[in-house]
């Protein structure tokens, strides 16, 4: 059995468990009502996006240092998965904001820095495809390294500035044990999903390189 199939099996089982915990097990929060259940997927989506961008940061440094293609493969694969997850945490956050704040979007420090993060990694993909040749990966690596500065800003925005976004309840003991358990299972689920998507994307990148090599060398 391949690692990919093991991860696929784990992700499926964990996803079913997460849905059970989110929709059946965990009690409805008293202030916000059912809409608070968005939190259990919204936070893990953000966590995986941050993890993915840290991977981009680390492998971009390695790529610029060693100039080995494998580091660029890992960085670009992670950037793509991270961008998908960032799109989702922005979208779910906006849907949560409408019934709770009365608006879909507000230029709050947390939201604004998160939107900037999304734009940075869209730029990463654009730079990569438009710079072309060996410059694409190099320029993208620089964006991946510099862009990572925004990740701690997004994470700390709720403590650094006055913001409408809920505070770090997870670290302040503000969550009931059942809510904490649900959140932790969802965090593990999305981390496993990230690992699975990374494996698929890396395999594709390797196929791409092989095709390029065969076309170029002919053997």
């Amino acid at each position: 059995m391949s690692v990919r199939n093991i991860l696929l099996g784990c992700a499926t089982i964990l996803m079913v468990a997460s849905l059970y915990l989110v929709f059946i097990y965990v009690p409805t929060e008293a202030t916000m009502g059912v809409v608070q259940r968005i939190f259990y997927f919204h936070v893990p989506l953000a966590w995986v996006a941050f993890l993915a961008f840290f991977v981009v940061f680390a492998f971009s440094i390695l790529y610029l240092w060693k100039r080995a293609e494998k580091w660029d493969v890992l960085a670009s694969a992670s950037a793509e998965v991270g961008t998908v997850f960032t799109t989702l945490f922005l979208a779910t956050g906006s849907i949560w904001a409408k019934p709770v704040w009365g608006v879909w979007w507000t230029w709050d420090p947390r939201l604004t820095s998160a939107l900037i993060l999304w734009i940075i990694y869209i730029a990463y993909h654009l730079v990569r495809s438009y710079a072309g040749g060996s410059r694409g990966p190099r320029f993208a690596a620089v964006v991946g390294i510099v862009g990572f500065i925004d990740v701690p800003i997004v994470a700390l925005a709720i403590t650094l500035w006055r913001t409408q976004h809920p505070g770090p309840a997870i670290f302040q003991g503000g969550l009931a044990p059942s809510m904490m358990l649900t959140l932790m299972v969802c965090l593990i689920t999305f981390t496993v999903l990230y690992a699975l998507l990374m494996l698929i994307r890396i395999a594709m990148k390797n196929d791409e390189s092989e095709i390029r090599r065969l076309k170029l060398t002919g053997n």
């Binding site: 968005i38 989702l88 998507l197 002919g218």
Partner: protein
């Protein structure tokens, strides 16, 4: 059960995007595998230089 619509919308978007992304990855990968195979076949049939 106020605001159930928002909850439904959020989870629907998550599932649509995740499934859409996985489907696009799988179709791109299959296309690439076919291209790789046909390229290898074509190279095998080529007379040695």
């Amino acid at each position: 059960m106020e605001n159930v619509g928002y909850l439904f919308a959020a989870y629907t978007i998550i599932w649509l995007v995740v499934f859409g992304y996985v489907l696009s990855l799988s179709s791109r990968q299959n296309k690439m595998k076919r291209e790789l195979e046909s390229l290898k076949e074509a190279l095998k049939e080529q007379p040695p230089k």
